[in-house]
């Protein structure tokens, strides 16, 4: 059995190595007829620039070619600017003639993808098998034998394992601080706008000030050794790899052209279109949720709540997030994820989306109405009855990934009071930012004016998309799984989680019930709470738990060795049962402290 599992790990590592290596396989050769640029002025300028640089009709390594193509495009853009200054041909609009910076980015991807050739392009299915195929086979060989073990809690050795043990405080900070500063600096370079990066930095400092000095957290420093004594270096490697993957995916997609080319036949099978990087991402995401979902099923097969919940996230990811949108595209309908809800789906109210949906016939209108109703009626109503878990740990894609691929890392969430204080400022700040941005966007849509109270809707939109949409939810949200746990985004950043959480906190029947005086303060519940809730602090006092951040994954109840916790719906007595100081058993006439 062990042997099979080792073979599985071996195959998985092999697939990962192949996956990484194929980025540098094959070559890019720019020819006058293979650029895929339809604008004649642009194409001519690019060919001239390529010729001058001496790369025309020359094969280049795909990774090296990205920089060279970028420099050619810059030269071409300069030349067009010069020609424009001298006078462009009659009847041609300036922006059809000149090449703006966003065009350069688009063309980089287009040219890289059109001029690439090599083994991956020749045999996409072979490489698909060597990467996705081997990874799935390897993963399953590792996971499936676990079905033969005894059912029950499977946490042996988690803190002895280099991948799941977590990082020492200093190493963790060596990820966190560069991630924050790097994102802000890169955002400035990318968007050429200093205002919003400075505002973000200012807000970060303000939040720290409020946490430390207004909420008296200065004296309440969490023990630094709440991080492990030895850093888990496999965790560091996994973190670096994941962060690297997200940076390439969001901000340097030209480098991952071979991955996209490899999955293109799959996309063509489903929707008839060539793959985009978002198809690649969706496919990987779905495969990971399914394979790691099977792992979750082996781990919690004694617990039906966990099984049903895992089937649910596997289903919603596969059907709603992946297949249905692609099939819609095949049927000439807009790409639409029916379970994505504003403000997590932050571009739902962007003008291009409203325009696309409102001009796509009956189904498009339905999608538009559906999205609005989910936000305004669906979220509060369903959350009232079941708590935010109906979305966060049953339906949501981010939650689905966190509950499957992220499960091995759930114990790494920070349980300190200080972390909770940061959490409340940041997540509600993001919700506020999403509301402000959407207000500006809708104001722009309905009035045609881009400025409201001095805020430019286009700038706010692109900064939000960069900082929250890509940086926070992707690079930090998933890249930080092995560093700060599997719910960094859901806990600190997701505006929808904040919205659901407000409903859950103030108007919901959901709570976690504590079973009388049975708690032994062991701390399994807190340790395995992915949202960093110190469940034990409530359970040991006999308090029921109503916390806005709780996603209702039910793992605290599952790992409790004394059967103390239960997720329940019912609000009648929530006010008294969540009160502090419910005490244990003392009978004395004058003192009413009986439970």
């Amino acid at each position: 059995m062990k042997t099979i599992q080792y073979i599985g790990i071996g195959l998985f590592i092999l697939s990962l190595l192949i996956f990484t290596a194929i980025l540098g396989v094959g070559h890019n050769e720019l020819k006058s007829d293979n650029l895929g640029i339809t604008n004649d002025y642009h194409r001519a300028a690019i060919i001239t620039a390529a010729n001058e640089s001496g790369v025309l009709d020359k094969a280049q390594n795909p990774l090296a070619s990205v920089a060279s193509i970028k420099s050619i495009l810059n030269k071409a853009a300069e030349r067009l600017d010069e020609q424009n200054a001298m006078g462009r041909p009659d009847g041609v609009a300036e922006w059809d003639f000149r090449m703006g910076s966003w065009k350069i980015e688009e063309y980089t991807n287009t040219i890289v993808s059109n001029t690439a050739s090599g083994p991956v392009q020749d045999n996409p299915w072979l490489f698909f098998f060597l990467t996705f195929g081997l990874a799935i086979i390897g993963g399953l060989l590792f996971i499936l034998p676990k079905f033969s073990e005894h059912a029950g809690i499977k946490h042996n050795g988690i803190y002895h394992n280099s991948l799941t043990r977590g990082l020492k405080f200093n190493v963790k900070m060596a990820f966190l601080i560069p991630a924050i500063i790097g994102t802000i600096v890169y955002g400035f370079l990318k968007l050429q706008n200093l205002f919003w990066p400075l505002v973000t930095l200012g807000l970060a400092l303000l939040i720290s000030y409020l946490v430390f000095y207004r909420q008296n957290s200065k004296d309440n420093t969490p023990q630094r050794h709440s991080c492990p004594v030895n850093t888990g270096w496999l965790g560091v490697i996994a973190g670096v790899y994941l962060i690297g993957f997200y940076i390439l995916l969001y901000w340097a997609p030209a480098y991952i052209n071979n991955w996209v080319a490899m999955v293109s036949p799959v996309s063509e099978m489903i929707s008839g279109n060539k793959a985009s990087r978002w198809f690649l991402y969706g496919l990987m995401y779905t495969v990971i949720v399914i394979v790691m979902g099977i792992r979750m099923l082996t781990k919690y097969r004694h617990n039906k709540y966990q099984r049903v919940r895992t089937y649910s996230v596997m289903f919603f990811q596969t059907a709603f997030a992946f297949l249905i949108p692609e099939i819609l595209v095949k049927l000439n309908q807009p790409w639409f994820d029916f379970k994505n809800i504003w403000p997590l789906d932050y571009d739902f109210f962007f003008s291009y989306n409203i325009k696309e949906l409102s001009t796509s016939g009956g189904l498009g209108i339905f999608m538009l109405v559906w999205g609005i109703i989910l936000t305004i009626v669906g979220v509060p109503l369903i959350t009232y009855f079941f708590g935010k878990r109906w979305y966060c740990s049953w339906v949501c894609g981010c939650g689905g990934l966190a509950e499957t691929m992220g499960d091995p890392f759930r114990q790494l969430s920070d349980k300190s009071l200080r972390a909770w204080k940061y959490e409340r400022f940041i997540i509600h700040g993001v919700l506020l930012a999403a509301v402000i941005m959407t207000t500006l966007v809708l104001y722009h849509y309905f009035t045609g004016k881009t400025n409201l109270l001095g805020l430019n809707s286009e700038n706010v939109k692109s900064w939000y998309g960069f900082l929250i949409g890509a940086g926070f939810s992707g690079v930090v949200g998933t890249g930080f799984y092995p560093i700060m746990g599997n719910r960094v985004w859901c806990r600190f950043g997701c505006p929808l989680a904040a919205y659901l959480g407000l409903v859950q906190k103030f108007k919901s029947r959901f709570r976690i019930t504590t079973n009388g005086g049975q708690c032994i303060s062991c701390g399994n519940c807190s340790t395995y709470c992915e949202m960093g809730i110190d469940v034990r602090s409530y359970a040991q006092k006999g308090q029921d738990i109503v916390r806005s951040s709780c996603v209702g994954c039910g793992v605290c109840a599952a790992v409790c060795p004394r059967g103390v916790l239960r997720l329940e719906n019912g609000s009648e007595d929530v006010g008294t049962r969540t009160a502090e100081l419910r005490t244990v058993h003392i009978t004395e006439d004058q003192i009413q402290v009986l439970s």
Partner: protein, 446 residues
């Protein structure tokens, strides 16, 4: 403002300190030589198994103590001068107290076995015990555990989690059958064997053999004379109050430190709580010394009221306890004796898998419900307690039995099977009316 000194930072001592702080402005000092901060002793096994780190077993963050003005002193109290109200510590420091709370805990029992003090022999009670187990674990070929109580099975599970073969020597004919009824005891014995633990029933430890360097190398089974090679011997034959060092001080000591209902010892301004306390008066069905988490916590709370001028009698209420036997959870409420007395009837259901069971005891004369015993199923503490205290007839309990169920959502409910067994056993036709769910429970408590 007087100075309250608490010796021991386990659950009893710490609960006392927290409640004294809530109720008063006394100066509070906790002295312990075991650890800098309070940690949950019940979680020691999870540290070894890699489920948690030591840090995760601390119920309060380290800044909590300063913020609540509870002084922590890491030292070992070597002697107490009760007349002068003075403590002497190993470091040479002395400390005056106005009120003293002894929360000294337990120590593992040793019954004079030859070789019991060798290296590589230990119990599982303190952080130091855990460190010793950890030190002997690398390259350990086999561990032998002597004693079959709750700590014995925990220790077996710990070694098992690291794939270290374990032999358990248990005096009884079936695991923990002096506490558990025979059916449950048999289920747990089977569960232990199913986990590939070498369970030897009805045997005693003869002696522990020395490898020549003062370390244990094997044990001899008394009955058979068999020698079992091992690198570690766990002694888990129960615990007893850690009071030996106070024997000649004038403090009234029996098995533990004798206390009255207000948890006062024979010496004024000295209190004893938790594992080390022996109640002079006990309520029916309770033992004078109860070394369990919950009673320690209740005593800590009670003593705080007494020290802060609000006299309260210690009343542990209805008996309850819980444990986990490898993968099987255990809960008990009320009276569940291992041998059924004449005035008690029992209703027992067991799942075909052998890992779940429900037992309800009721009075054979009045048919009032008296106790619940659960394996692999969770029941609500407060519901079971109310039924028993209200002297609810068994048939009324069975009609509403779903109300007690505390298993997670979607779990199968087995109450109907229990009702069927009752109907068959008593030739009745009781219908199960209430299913699992919170709403019914809430109206039950109104």
């Amino acid at each position: 403002m007087s100075h309250v000194v608490i010796i021991g930072n386990g659950i009893s001592g710490v609960t006392a300190a927290r409640w004294i702080r809530k109720l008063s402005d006394h100066r509070i000092t906790i002295i312990s030589s075991e650890s800098d901060h309070f940690f949950s002793r019940t979680a020691l096994m999870y540290i070894y198994m890699g489920h948690m780190r030591y840090e995760d077993t601390k119920p309060y963050e380290d800044w909590f103590w300063k913020k609540n003005r509870i002084d922590l002193v890491k030292d070992h109290v070597s002697s107490i001068d009760f007349d002068k109200k003075q403590l002497s510590c190993q470091s040479g420091n002395e400390m005056h107290y106005d009120k003293l709370i002894l929360a000294l805990g337990s120590k593992s029992n040793k019954f004079g076995w030859p070789g019991q003090d060798l290296k590589g022999v230990g119990g599982l009670y303190s952080l130091q015990d855990l460190e010793q187990m950890e030190a002997y674990s690398p390259n350990l070929k086999r561990a032998v555990i002597v004693g079959g109580g709750l700590i014995g099975i925990e220790m077996a599970e710990m070694f098992h989690s690291r794939h270290i073969p374990v032999t358990m020597l248990v005096r009884e004919a079936s695991y923990w059958n002096n506490i558990l009824p025979p059916e449950e005891s048999e289920m747990i014995s089977q569960h232990i064997k199913d986990n590939d633990i070498d369970l030897r029933l009805g045997v005693n430890l003869g002696e522990i053999k020395d490898d020549g360097n003062g370390t244990a190398k094997s044990v001899i089974v008394k009955e058979t004379g068999e020698e079992i090679e091992c690198g570690y011997v766990g002694l888990t034959a129960g615990v007893s109050p850690n009071v030996g060092w106070l024997k000649e001080t004038g403090l009234d000591i029996g098995r533990g430190i004798k206390v009255n209902v207000h948890l006062e010892t024979s010496i004024k301004d000295v209190y004893a709580i938790g594992d080390c306390a022996e109640q002079s008066q006990t309520q029916p069905g309770r033992r004078p010394v109860e070394a369990i988490w919950y009673t320690g916590r209740m005593m800590g709370e009670t003593v705080a009221y007494n020290i802060c001028g609000k006299p309260v009698s210690y009343d542990p209420g209805l008996w309850f306890n819980s444990a986990k036997f490898i993968d099987i959870e255990y809960q008990v409420y009320g009276e569940v004796p291992s041998k059924l007395p004449d005035d008690m009837k029992t209703l027992f259901w067991k799942h075909a898998d052998g890992d779940k069971s429900i037992r309800i005891n009721y009075d054979s004369n009045t048919s009032v419900v008296r106790g619940f015993n659960l394996l692999g199923i969770r029941y609500r503490h407060e519901v079971c307690e109310k039924w028993i205290l209200d002297k609810t007839p068994i048939e009324s309990v069975l009609t509403n039995l779903g109300m007690a169920n505390f298993d997670p959502e979607f779990f199968k409910e087995y109450e109907q099977e229990l009702v069927n067994i009752y109907n068959q056993q008593e030739n009745k036709n009781i219908q199960l009316k209430t299913k699992r769910g919170l709403s019914k429970v809430l109206s039950f408590f109104k």
